[in-house]
Structure formats: structure tokens, C-alpha cells
């Protein structure tokens, strides 16, 4: 299996795109993964599910604009160089 660094970058872009596409109110709340579900207990430590929901929400918030730029660059490069 021959990996190049470029294939790693492609896989990373696809994964981050997949996480950023999950819509908050149309999808995540419906399956009980919304952000309002997660802010529940400030007990001793948050469980795995609330950590995951926090992670999804923060990825969406932080990476929204850079993803636009990176995706545009990737599309242009793919169109030019195949």
C-alpha cells in the first residue's frame, strides 16, 4: 500500500468535510446528538458522548471558513492537474 503525503492530506480534507457537514438542528438534534443535549452535567468529568459532541461542534465552528478556502484550492488543483 503506497501512501503519499498528498493522499493523507486528501483523506484529512474529506474527514473534516464530513464532520463539518453535519447540520446542527436538522440532523444532530434529531438523533440526540445536539449541542443542547451535551451541556448537561458538569459532574466530575464529561462522558465520551458529550466530548464527542463538543468536538463536532468546535470543528464546525473553527473550520468553517478555512474549509472553504482549502476545498476551493483542492478543486482548482484537481481540475488543473487531474
Amino acid at each position: 500500500m503506497a501512501f503519499t503525503l498528498y493522499s493523507l492530506i486528501q483523506a484529512a480534507i474529506l474527514c473534516v468535510n464530513a464532520v463539518a457537514v453535519l447540520h446542527e438542528e436538522r440532523f444532530l438534534s434529531k438523533i440526540g446528538w445536539g449541542a443542547d443535549h451535551g451541556i448537561g452535567g458538569f459532574g466530575d468529568e464529561p462522558g465520551i458522548k458529550s466530548q464527542l459532541m463538543n468536538l463536532v461542534r468546535s470543528v464546525r465552528t473553527v473550520m468553517r471558513v478555512p474549509l472553504i478556502i482549502v476545498n476551493t484550492v483542492a478543486i482548482v488543483l484537481l481540475l488543473l492537474f487531474g
Partner: protein, 309 residues
């Protein structure tokens, strides 16, 4: 700029700027031909058009060196050194934003004795008693003083050796071409990045508040390259049987090493003697540790089996 103005204005007036020009030193080469006694203080060049004594850039007595008597070379050298200092500061500041250089230096502070002991420990960890990383006034001791500390020297050297060994193995089987080295290197690098990212993600999800940084995890996952080198070498020397025997040995040794090293850092210890408690919080952490350890032999096999036919 001050230098250029001064130059066009008075080529006869020389002023070595920058660090401490020594005044009135015995290496003064020419008589002072400027008008009046020169004021004896460095700096303030545009405000002192009256002459300065001609003196070489005092480098500890190179009195006969013709380069240092040339005023243009003086100023150019002083200017160049100050520019180089500025450039160096700028580069180190920029690099410091991404990678903390001090923390990286900690991982490369090794010596020969440590490397020997660590390599022996990687291949035969069953007799080692004390696996704790010793601390020295609240900061972990450098690998020079503590054999349990992770370092990045062995993984990087082992990585390069593995690439060279892979090239040699493919050359013996007449399957070598220069692109193969690059493909091998980037494949191994990509797998290591994936492993470190997966480990960081799983540690974040389980909220392990340990002092394991990304560099520590990089070091611990880079130790498998030592096993890979041994496996490939014995596969080349002793054929396919030697390969599998060495694979079994290094896998067991590496798994033991990883479990014992990471146990102290990841798992929560309840009692004062450091006995690991078996409550539900620890169960997932135990799974993570065992999964990390079990991933190593898989990687060793995956990255080396195509080299041994």
C-alpha cells in the same frame, strides 16, 4: 540608512558601528589624521561628523590583516552581522510559533549510554524493575539522566535506518528503483501520523489529563522502528523463518514495553502505592493501552512483509 548617508558624506570618517568598538587599542594602525581629538564614545554616528580614529575591527590582534583595515569591509561586516542576528531572531520566533523548540530539545538530549540501555530495554524489557519517569523539581528529567524518559533520537535514527534497510532488501531481490525509497518513507511517515492522531483523539475523548504531549506519543510510536529493523535484518540473514521468529520476539517485547511505559501515564492510580484500580473509568483506559500495544505488531508486520519473500 545611517551607513549609506555617512558613506556618501565622508568616506574619510570611519566608524565601526555595532558591538563595542575598542578605542585607543594597541592595534591602531594609522596615525589619526582627522581634525582635532576625536571624541571617545561609540555610537551617535550621524551627530559626530568630526573624525574617528582609524582602527581595525579588533578581532583579538589581527593587526596585519588587510581586510580589517578596509573601512568599507568594516562597516559591511558590522552591518551584515547585525542583519544576520535580526534574521536569526526572526526565524526562531516564527518557528517557535508552531513547534516549541525547548520541548523538542528535551527529546534530543541523549548520550551513548542512554541509547545503549534503551535499545537493550526495547528488545528485552522483562527484567526492568522501575518504570517511572523520574522528576527533577517538577519537570521531567532529560533522557540523559533517566532511562525511562522518551526521546526522539532513537525513533528518527531508526526510521532512517529502516528506509535504508528497505532499499537494500529490495535491491537484493532486484526490485529496487529510486522511487521506492520515497514511497517507503512517506508510507511509514503517514502511518505514524495516523497513529499519533488516533491516539490523541482517543485520549481526548476519554479525558485523560496526563502530561503526554504529542511529542511523547510520537516517541513511543517511533520505537517500533527498532523492532522493524531487527525483523528485516534477521529476515535477510536467515530467510523467512528468521523473519517470523524475530517478528514474534520483537512484537512481544514491544508490546510489553508499551504497556508498562504507558500504564503509569494513562491509567489513574487510586491508592498511594500506585496500584491500578479496576473501576469503570479505568476500563476504557486499559482498552486504549492494550489497543495501542496491539497495534504495534500489526504495523511491524504490515510495513515489512513485502520486503521478505
Amino acid at each position: 540608512m545611517a551607513y549609506q548617508q555617512g558613506y556618501r558624506a565622508s568616506p574619510k570618517h570611519r566608524a565601526p558601528r555595532g558591538p563595542a568598538p575598542t578605542m585607543g587599542d594597541p592595534t591602531q594602525l594609522f596615525d589619526d589624521t582627522s581634525a582635532g581629538m576625536p571624541p571617545q564614545h561609540p555610537g551617535g554616528y550621524p551627530s559626530q561628523p568630526g573624525g574617528y580614529p582609524q582602527q581595525g575591527y579588533d578581532m583579538g590582534g589581527f593587526s596585519a590583516d588587510s581586510i580589517f583595515t578596509d573601512p568599507m569591509a568594516n562597516v559591511a561586516m558590522a552591518y551584515g552581522s547585525s542583519m544576520a542576528n535580526q534574521g536569526k531572531d526572526m526565524v526562531s520566533k516564527e518557528i517557535d510559533r508552531f513547534v516549541s523548540i525547548n520541548k523538542l530539545k528535551y527529546f534530543f538530549a541523549v548520550d551513548t549510554k542512554y541509547v545503549m540501555k534503551k535499545l537493550a530495554l526495547l528488545m528485552f524489557p522483562y527484567t526492568h524493575q522501575n518504570w517511572e519517569v523520574r522528576y527533577h523539581r517538577d519537570s521531567p528529567m532529560t533522557p540523559r539522566h533517566d532511562v525511562n524518559a522518551p526521546d526522539l533520537y532513537i525513533p528518527s535514527m531508526a526510521f532512517i535506518t529502516y528506509i535504508l534497510l528497505a532499499g537494500m532488501a529490495l535491491g537484493i531481490q532486484k526490485r529496487f528503483s529510486p522511487e521506492v525509497l520515497g514511497v517507503c518513507a512517506s508510507t511509514a511517515l503517514v502511518w505514524m501520523i495516523i497513529e499519533v492522531l488516533a491516539l490523541l483523539l482517543s485520549l481526548y475523548l476519554v479525558t485523560v489529563h496526563s502530561e503526554l504531549t504529542a511529542f511523547d506519543l510520537l516517541a513511543y510510536s517511533g520505537y517500533k522502528y527498532v523492532g522493524m529493523i531487527l525483523t528485516v535484518a534477521s529476515g535477510l540473514l536467515f530467510g523467512s523463518d528468521g523473519y517470523y521468529v524475530a517478528l514474534a520476539w520483537t512484537s512481544c517485547a514491544l508490546m510489553f514495553f508499551i504497556v508498562r511505559s504507558l500504564r503509569m501515564k494513562i491509567l489513574a492510580t487510586a491508592s498511594s502505592e500506585g496500584v491500578v484500580s479496576h473501576n469503570s473509568k479505568n476500563r476504557i483506559r486499559i482498552y486504549i493501552t492494550v489497543a495501542t500495544a496491539g497495534f504495534q505488531p500489526l504495523m511491524i508486520y504490515w510495513l515489512t512483509f513485502h520486503l521478505i519473500r
